[in-house]
Amino acid sequence: MGVIAAVVNVLICVGVPLAALVYLLAKKRSHLKYFLLGIAGFTVSQLLLRLPLLNLIQGTIVYQTLGVLLPTLTLFLVCLSAGLFEEPARYLFLRFAGNVTGERSGKGDNNKTQNRPLPHQGRKNSGSRHQNKPSAQQASSRPHRSAASSQVAGKKELDLKIPLFYGLGHGGIEAIALVSINNLFLLFTQQDVLNSAGGMVFLAGLERISAFMLHVALSFVVYYGIMRAKKRYLPFAVLIHTVFNFSIVLLQLGISELWYECVLLIESLILLIVSVRLIRGRKVSG
């Protein structure tokens, strides 16, 4: 049973990102870079920065003492560190490496700009039947028109595939690094360990499904913040990430690992639904 569960885990951990990669290569090459950026985001923020730092800190007297005397606080700080490393990385990789840019102002004044011609534009086209539809030549030849076009362009529809594939890249490399390598190692070297653990081995795969949904949801939130030029969505994503990870404290309450994984699954499902509603509910038509 444990061996079958480990095989299923590997299929989930490798299959989901692999399926996304095949889809991108076959049908959506323009979005491949966001998938790769997701991989880079996790690699830099966790594998190269957070985990080595955490390893260093965990060997200190201060950390060990804090862990013994204030275990819940220590757990919270560890969870917070995950949010503090991964979410800014998500923002930076999407915003700068992915070149995702949104509106110039988040104050909600763009509708006025969109509906009302600039003074310069109005004068130029007065008397024309097409005063609100200048030619491409006109638009490119005047700085005022360029500025106006840029603001209107900021109202373009949000591309949900960008955060989707970033999240799958991020969650995919995390699943491969944290679960599939470990499960493959056990499959090839210690099958007796897997068999003694039985069906509980599958909980690791179940947790990865939750993690996939979490990373896609968080990518939606951060992407939305970038597109709407609202900085509060980044700390909001850090908070969500921290709270989600901190759910592990439920195990201290004595709930079983199975129920804990079910809670994570429900949490991530709700977060995914809410984040999709956040974006779809506020999608601005182009």
């Binding site: 060997g59 007297i61 060990q64 003492t65 404290v249 709700i270 509603r277 506020r282």
Partner: protein
């Protein structure tokens, strides 16, 4: 927009409230004497430090853990820790598994290269039921 914001606030509050329920630690059972159990944990750790795995294995209540298994899992780690220096902070709590109460002693131990926390578990009879670093 307001409904979505409200839903997010409610969701986050629930998510925060759930984990915070776990902040209270379980109190020790009547049979547990914290000082004795801590001294017992330090005795186990002392044996581990001098690699007396036979004696540690004999202390286990189940008798299923062999000294070879202990040596295989702890030797490399002990090598990397360096020489033992002293003990640091400790804490005891209770845990129930399959209707049986156990007491866990978390003992910080300082070594030349780094500090680690031993988790030593005792049952009501005072026998060793678990050991983790």
């Amino acid at each position: 927009m307001k409904r979505t914001r409200l839903a997010l606030i409610v969701l986050l509050s629930l998510l925060l409230a759930l984990p915070l329920l776990g902040c209270g630690g379980a109190s020790l059972p009547e049979w547990a004497n914290e000082e004795e159990l801590t001294a017992g944990a330090q005795e186990v750790i002392d044996l581990v430090n001098v690699r007396q795995f036979d004696e540690v294995a004999d202390m286990f209540s189940t008798g299923t853990l062999t000294s070879d298994a202990l040596e295989a899992s702890l030797s490399d780690l002990l090598d990397s820790l360096g020489g033992f220096k002293d003990y640091g902070a400790y804490r005891c709590d209770a845990v129930t598994e399959n209707g049986t109460e156990f007491v866990r002693v978390f003992q910080v131990s300082n070594y030349e290269n780094q500090s680690v926390t031993f988790t030593v578990v005792f049952d009501e009879a005072g026998a060793l039921s678990g050991l983790w670093i």
